[in-house]
Amino acid sequence: MSADLTTARHASSDDPRVMLEEAVGVFAPIPPYPPRTEREAEFYTLGDGEMFINMGPQHPSTHGVLRVVLKIEGERVVDLDPVLGYLHRGVEKLCENADYHHTIAYTDPLEYVSALFNEWAPVMAFEKLMDVEVPRRAEYIRVLSGELNRIASHALFMGWMALDLGGLTPILWSFIERDEIVDMLASLTGQRMLFNYFRIGGVNGDLNHEFMSRLGAWMSKATSQIEANQALLNENEIFVRRMRGLGTLDREAAFRLCMTGPNIRASGVPLDMRRAHPYSVYPDLEFDIPTRQEGDCLARYLVRLDEVKQSIRIIDQCLHDMPDGPIMAKLPRLMRPRPGRAYAAVEGPRGQYATYAISDGTDQPFRMRIHDPSFVHLQAVGLLTSGNLIADTMAIMASLDPIMGGVDK
C-alpha cells in the first residue's frame, strides 16, 4: 500500500493536483526518504489494515519531547518506533570542552527530576581519576540528599503513572511531597531543581538550620503522608487491573534489555548498585532491596513504593550517624588528573547513572561518557508494547519511567 503511494508520488509529481495533495500531507509516507536499515524498512511497511499514528513530539503523555510512531491495527499496537533527539544538547561534547568542575553544571540538568544523581556519577568518576578521599561527612550528606531526591522523584513517578492512566488527582497529591522535599533541598543547595551541589571531593555547603528543621518536620509525617497518597491508587480496582500482567519482563529479558534500577528489580533481580557495587557509605547503612517476581507494570510501580520506605529508613540512619568533620577534601583549584580512565556508577531512582571519564592530563576530560538509565529503558517500550492496546503504550512507558532530558543527552 505504501509502495503504491510512493510510486504515485514520484511518478506524477508534475501533476499540480498530486503536488497539492503532497503538500498538505495527504499521501506523504513516513519517512520521506528511503529506509536506511533493515528494521526501518520492516517498520515502515504497512500490512493489511494497519496504519501509522504519530504521537509526539507534542503529545500530552510522552513525558517530554518524545515522538513515537505507532503502527496500529485498530486499537492494537503492532509495533512502534521511538524517535529521539528533540532535546539533544550534546552534553558529552560540551563536557569535553569544559573544566572538570564545570561539567557538573552540564550534567546536572540532564535528568531534571533527580538531578543530584547526575552530579554524583561524574563527581565519583573524577574522584577516582584523582584518587581523592572524600570526607565521611560529605559522603553522608550526599547519601542524605540523594535519598531525599529519590523520594521526590518516585513521588512524581506515581503521579505521572496515574495521570497517564487518566487519573487527575494523584499527580497533584504527589506534588505535595515533592514540593516539600524540593524546597528542603533548595534550602540546602540554593536551587529547587538543578542543584549543582556536589563537588569533586565533597559537597558545596554544610547542613544548615533551615534544612534540618524542614527535614525534621517532614520526617515526622513522611511515612503516613506517603501511605495516604499511595492508598489513593493501590486500592483502586481500575488502576490495579490495568497494570497487572501488562508489559511483563522476566529475569532473562530484563538482563538482555540492559535494565537497571527498579525496572529490573521488579523482575526479581536484586540488582542495586548500592549493594551490587557498593559506593559511598552505603555499606555502613542498613536497608533492604525490595524486589518483586512478577515483572509487570504493577510490580514496577510497587517496587518504587517500597523503595520510598527504604529511603526513609536510610535518611533516618544518616541523621543518626552523621559524623562531624570537613565537607570538602583538600584539592587544588585547577585539577589536572593523571592520564587514566575511571568508571563510576550510582543507583538513581531510575537505575544506574554512570560516568566513564578519560583523562589526558589536562584540566578537561578527554572523553566523558554519561550513561543514563532512561535511555536504555525507553527502548524496551517497543518490545513490551507490541500486541497490546494504544492505552497500554502509555501505561508501559510510564511504568518504565523515562525522563526525556536524560534520554536525549
Binding site: 487518566g166 487491573r241 494504544i390
Partner: protein, 448 residues
Amino acid sequence: MDSPSRTFERLTLPGKVIFTLVPILIALLAGLVMAIVLVGPFALDFLSANLPLVRFVVAATVVLLMTVPTAFLIIYMEMKVIALMNLRYGPDRVGPYGSLLSVVHGLKVLMKEDFTPTGADGIVFTWAPVVVYMASVMTLLVLPFAPGIFGVDMNIGLLYFFAMGGLGVVGLLMAGWSSFNKYSLIGGLRSAAQVVSYEIPLTLSVVGIVLLSGTLSLNKITLDQSGSLFDWYVFKQPLAFLIFMIAATAEANRTPFDLTEADSEIVAGFATEYSGMRFGFFFFAEYVNVFIVSGLAVALFMGGWNAPFDWPFPIVAQPDLAGMGVGLLLAIGLIPPLAILLLAMPFYLLNTGLRFWQALVIGFVLFNVVAVAALLGFAFISFDWVVGLLWFLMKTYGFVFLFVWMRGTLPRVRIDQLMGFAWKWLLPAALLNLFVTALAIVLVTTPR
C-alpha cells in the same frame, strides 16, 4: 455636494451604521405594531386553537436556552470541585469565587477562530457538533422537571430518550471521520463502539421499571413513585440502579469511561481538530449530557420531583391580590422605601463610621435579599411545581456531583476492559434483573 450628504460623510463608522439602521428599525417597529393590531386577534385565535403546538415551541425554546446556564453551572462545578479534590484553588478570579469563569469560557469560545483543517470533509465537519448538541437538547424535552413542567408528555418518553441518546453517537462518529485526523478517527470509532455497547445494558436495566409501572412515559413513572421515600424505584430495583449508573457514565463519556476523549492516549479524541464555537458545542453537549443522565436517573430511580418526605405545612391558597384594590398600589409604593429605611437604620445608628447613604445602600441590598427570599418562600409554599423543581434540581445536581467526583478520583479503563465489562457483566446482570422483576410481578399479581 449638498449638505445632508456631507453631514453623513462626517459621521464615524458606528454613526453611519446607526443612522442607517434607525429608520429601518422604526419602519419595522411600525410594521410590527400594525401587524399586531390587524392580525393579532386572528393569530391569538389560531394559537389558542393549537395549544399543543404553542406549548411545544415554547418548550423547545426554553429547553434550548436552558442548556447554556446548565452547562455553565456544571462546568464551574466541575472546575471547582475537582480543584478542591486536587488541593488546588480552582477558578477564583472572575466573579465571586470564580463563578463567572465558565461564562468567560463561553465568550472565549465564541470569539476564537473556527477553522476547518485542510483535507477535512467540510459539510460533515460543520454539522457534527450540531448533531451532537441537538441530540442532547432534544432529550431534555421529555424530562419531567416538576408537576406540569415538562416539554412533552410522550407516552413513549423513555424510548424517545434512548433513541435520541443514540443519535448523539452519530455526531461523534461524523466528527471523528470528517476531521481527517487519526486521533479523531480512533476517538469516533471508540465512541461508536462504546455507546452502542452500553445502550443495551442501559436500556435493559430500565425495562424492569417499565414492567413495574406499566408505562414508558417518564412523567407517569415519576408519578408512580409519589408517596413515601420507599416508593422510589431505587429501593425496588437496586441492581437496575447500579447497572443504570455505570452504563449511563459510559453513555455520557465520563471518567472512568471517557475513552473517546482520552487525553493521555488520543489527545482529545473526536474533538482534536475542533476549535471555537464548534468545539464549544461539543463541550456544552458533554455537560448537558451529564445533566440529562443525572436527571433521568432521578426521574427513574430517585422519585423525580417527589419530596422524600411530606412537606409539613399545608399549601396555602393563593392570596386574592385583586381584592386589595388601591391598597395594593399603596403597598407596592410604600413598603419598599419603608423597609429599606428600617433595615438601614441599625447600621447607621450602631456604626458611627458609616455615612447615611452607605447605610441606605446596605439597607437596599438587604431588602432585596429579604424580598427575594420572601417571594421564593411564598412560591415554595404556594405552587407545588416550585417545590417539585427544587427537589428535582437538588437531586439532579447531587448526581452531577457524583459524576464530577468520579472524574476526580478514578483513572480510565482500557477499551477491552470497557467492552468486556459491558458484555460479560452488565448485560447478564441486566437480564437477570429483568427476569427477577418479571418473575416477581407474575408471582405477586397472578391469582392462584
